[in-house]
Subunit: 348 residues, 3 copies
């Protein structure tokens, strides 16, 4: 299979071979993402990023990835897109913008709009998040993070115990993640959520059919023991009808809980943003200096993995090794003030 020219709608596009090819390319691109090398294989190419729903993180990450490859970016956000619609169909918008660019990233609050975009163009479209549907580039960056975390000492991801924690019902990132992680072997997947926010049964069944062990739990205190990975999520309150859906502070993943129950080599992840207001039961800020906290290694991973995806879809992956040259500007040794403890123990 080749990704060249493909639309990327769903994480189901990828098999394990394709994932690993993509991750090898992304490994090569990490120094470019970090401003240490330059690889301008897309000079002259243009990406259009069309965000019918606000998403600074995804938009900026995609745009940065394309710029790092030397391309140019057209950027269009919600307010503007909506105010000019004048009854235009998504099909027309898609076909029109296709004539302006070589690749589109589209986010939309409705599940179906991205499908309509894709049907109306031969220019590759990347799903940047479609409603409660999929968010495949987030799933790729989560998987790439796991590939890096478990790759650095050669342990590998197969056979691990992975705890998914929090709002597993409405969080589309965990839905895409459980699909992709299931491409690996012999996992124990622990879904930790109140009953009313549990993982959809269809997704559990699919993971089970692929040979993984599924465990359900309502107690982070118990379920996080011996986990190799803890993937915490935020309450997707904006997707509820507005009712009093929530969970208690036992779902607050903080220093106290992690110290009590997690292993020294557990990898703690979260798709961000996390709610850091007082009283929020989310991943806590007091873990920031704990090198097990991989959340910024996750967001950092978004750039190389999206670069790898864009390069693959646009068929320039093989040009990258020869295009690499050193960057000549200043770059801090570590991007964040809390990054050092982790990287000091790791060959980059």
């Amino acid at each position: 299979m080749s990704l060249t020219g493909k639309h990327v709608l769903s994480s189901e596009l990828f098999d394990r071979d394709e994932l690993e090819r993509l991750f090898s390319l992304a490994d090569l691109l990490v120094p470019v993402a970090r401003g240490r090398k330059v690889a301008r294989v897309l000079e002259g190419a243009v990406m259009a990023s069309l965000f019918f729903e606000a998403s600074t993180r995804t938009r900026l990450s995609c745009e940065s990835a394309f710029l790092r490859l030397g391309g140019g970016v057209l950027s269009c956000t919600n307010a503007e897109l909506m105010s000019i619609s004048k009854g235009e169909s998504y099909a027309d918008t898609s076909r029109v913008v296709s004539g302006y660019c070589d690749l589109m990233v589209v986010r939309h609050p409705d599940d179906d709009a991205v499908h309509e975009f894709m049907a109306a163009t031969n220019v590759p479209v990347i799903n940047g998040g479609n409603g409660a549907g999929e968010h495949p580039t987030q799933a790729l960056l989560d998987m790439f993070t796991l590939h890096r975390e478990f790759g650095r000492d050669g342990r590998g991801l197969d056979g691990r115990r992975v705890a998914l924690v929090g709002d597993l019902r409405y969080g589309r990132t965990v839905h895409s993640l459980i699909n992709l992680i299931s491409l690996y072997e012999d996992l124990t997947i622990v879904c930790v959520a109140p009953a009313h926010l549990g993982m959809p049964v269809a997704l559990l069944e699919r993971a089970e059919m692929r040979g993984h062990r599924i465990e359900l739990s309502e107690s982070p205190e118990i379920a996080l023991k011996d986990a190799d990975v803890v993937y915490a999520t935020r309450l997707q309150t904006e997707r509820f009808g507005g009712g009093p859906v929530s969970y208690g502070e036992e779902f607050r993943i903080d220093k106290s809980l992690v110290s009590r129950v997690c292993r020294a080599d557990t990898v703690i992840m979260h798709p961000l943003p996390r709610d850091s207001r007082a009283g929020s039961n989310d991943l806590a800020m007091d873990l920031n200096s704990d090198s097990r906290l991989a959340i910024f290694r996750q967001t950092d991973s978004g750039i190389p993995v999206r670069m790898a995806l864009f390069a693959s879809v646009l068929g320039v992956a093989e040009q990258i090794p020869d295009a690499l040259r050193p960057a000549t500007w200043y770059r801090p040794e570590y991007t964040g003030p809390d990054d050092a403890p982790f990287y000091r123990n790791t060959a980059l």
Copy 2:
């Protein structure tokens, strides 16, 4: 005449020689616009796109054209421009932004603001649409489309029968178009509109003085017969005071009407967006697979013609032939799924 350093306020800037010079350059730039060649003659140059009125199509098309030439883009849209005005004159805004860039594209809902912008700077300003006034780059892309459609078999545009259909009173694109098309010879221009939405008399008189035949009609059914070009438009409802101004379904240009009355080689155009909601009397979606429908060839044409205009205004047109090199990324054979039937019969 040379366009170098000129403001582009009106389609009246162009005579037929200038148009044809521009279109020859645009022909050369079509492969760059399509991502098949690269021509970075403006590396280091900066364009500012200032849109005081939302217009995703025009903004993205101009920005893409400038990026394709290797330049960088500053982008500023309505909400932001308005919120920071603090009583600043357009003259000040224009002169300030002139110090940040080499070219400005300005759209404004008031007819006069663009004039004020132009008066306050020596940096070239392109009118991106001024209220009910002009939209010269739209007129250029319409004319370039006609140049391509009638150029491919050597027929040429002179002597043709051109039907302009719909809201001819408020649609500024047809006002600019009738001016530009009149530069050609021996046309029959059929204005098809209800009496209250007819083409302004001054524009009709000018076309007549240039030697063209003018016909008026209220019936698309009759007037579209034997037309070489059908240029449909959308009701400019946002420009009315809000009254019940409209027209009936006889102005719906759809498959049924086109099959009954149009020739096999009629070129069907529309400035877009078209209203595709049920019950709208606009150009219909059921014509999408009809290769006579040229609307996406029109929007695609916006890129090479704007590239040609920017290159001419910035005096780099002559550098383009030597700057062309092949692009190395993936590009679909046809941009849209319905493009193939037309291009298969055409030398690109």
Copy 3:
């Protein structure tokens, strides 16, 4: 001291040596800012501009400076940033975006948010204006303007009489300016404001301790006599609680006042925007053709001085001389129609 890798929070970061080093570099970059030369030392680098408060001028100027150096720009403005916060801390936003770029410019209406941004990242952050706090790049461009105005005939800034006029209490640009200008020698600083809008005492005391003479006045008519520099400001009405705070027309700096009281070589500045509506008591439009009016030389100066700052913070300053090459596109001899009289008397 080196600026490489530093956050730029305050104008207090700079001593006179550092200022002069920066201005020498900016002098070298003036032709790049004006589109006459190209210097792409940052090809492959990415800047993120995060504006939590609208500021078209500062945003576009910073983005243009980075583009002129060959870099790419991620742009994010208020509405979008706010709508996606979902309770995220500034620290998280900062660390996340740090992984997408090599430099951040951040503006925020709260004084403290920029501090939080800086504390959370090792990637250099430039303060683009923090509430009523500082706006160091504006202060740099004001000082660079003075360096150019008094440098062109070798007179120099030391020993000059500088009048600061208008709202000296809420205008953060004059606060930063009085700090930076105090790095020079033997100035007379005349603060011209109604008593309730006077310069904060702490800033006056600091300037006095550095050996400058301070004079206070409520009359522009008297205080502008013999001034080498008149720095006018706008009423910062958006920072008041909404009360009837204002001043009379004696604070209108117009042709009549300037003709009566200013010398032939006085330099008249203003941070812009100025309020040009009828009845506003601001710097008047009728001075536009007076070559003493330096306001557009000020805004033009924003590009080379920000280029110099970015190049210094990213450690590429020394690469610039070798990177300079001629630009090949059209550029008007003078950017603005009123620029000629000044530059004709000046070696560029």
